[in-house]
Symmetry: C2
Subunit: 178 residues, 2 copies
């Protein structure tokens, strides 16, 4: 999978449909990955993304400490790995090895990108005002990568308790908006 840089103005198109993400962090040189669905776009450019990482997650500690993560967008063929990441903690397990995910170097942040995901968004925390009350971080996407061969990604959308909706057909309707 050969990826290219994606203009930051296009990032919202990846996240606005609401896919499950794999969030990578790195703490003390040790990378980790978790599944995450509680995210929202907050600005087009520079792209801002708000997200909640449960305080019970090992990844929360790493994001809180380092202020860096990568949001990786998985598609249908990774569904079992995504569910596996969601069901285990990285506190005592190397989830990259356990689920056969390949870490690839990011360009501007320490956490790795996941090679198997068709898109990767390198992020830095820019606002922590709602972390204490809601574990809600505001991230700025500083660099985006995409596999340009994926036109209509079959992303995963969590309906709760392990039920994942897979992206279906696309309707194209008249639009005045972005």
């Amino acid at each position: 999978m050969k990826k290219r840089s994606l203009p930051l103005s296009q990032v919202y198109k990846l996240l606005e449909p609401g896919p499950v993400l794999l969030v990578t962090t790195s703490s003390g040189g040790r990378p980790n990955v978790m599944a995450m669905s509680w995210h929202a776009m907050m600005e087009f450019e520079p792209p801002l993304v708000g997200c909640v990482l449960s305080g019970r997650n090992y990844s929360f500690e790493a994001l809180e400490a380092t202020g860096e993560c990568v949001l990786n967008v998985p598609t249908e063929e990774l569904a079992l790995k995504v569910a596996g990441c969601g069901n285990t903690s990285g506190r005592r397990k190397d989830k990259f090895a356990a689920f056969g995910l390949t870490p690839a170097p990011a360009s501007l942040v320490a956490p790795p990108r996941i090679a198997e995901c068709y898109a990767n968004l390198e992020c830095r925390v820019v606002d922590r005002r709602l972390v204490e009350d809601y574990n809600f971080f505001v991230l700025e996407v500083v660099k985006a990568w995409i596999d340009p061969s994926v036109k209509e990604p079959r992303t995963l959308h969590h309906r709760g308790r392990g039920a994942f909706m897979v992206a279906g057909k696309t309707l194209r309707l008249p639009s005045k908006a972005k």
Copy 2:
């Protein structure tokens, strides 16, 4: 479409997959509706939802002034109405009449529910700390309604510029999480 009350603990299942929502507000007794995709779950129960309403939208003023809205979840058959709502302003137009949407009374807030949407979430603003910088409101869902006959809703997910992904098949995978 006969709706019943949905336990608040189940609300996350409706929003976590990331569907486009129709947000209804009411200002001076006049209801309005807009399409919105920038939302994220922030807590299971009571359910909290963070969302961005552009400051250019007439609905922003109403939500800011009244602190109340209803999040309505449309499905595929409403796609043209959703795109229409997204392409027009309620400042000078009655969008309910223009797009053939039926307002139905909510039980705890002033803005109407949309009868044609299979689920309706009555909300109050509970945190405005990020409104000034990002137009980001934290809402609490105080009452939820659902049409129990809709098991796998064909929700709409905006990919940008009028391209809407329609919810496809469901995978059921092992889960330890909610």
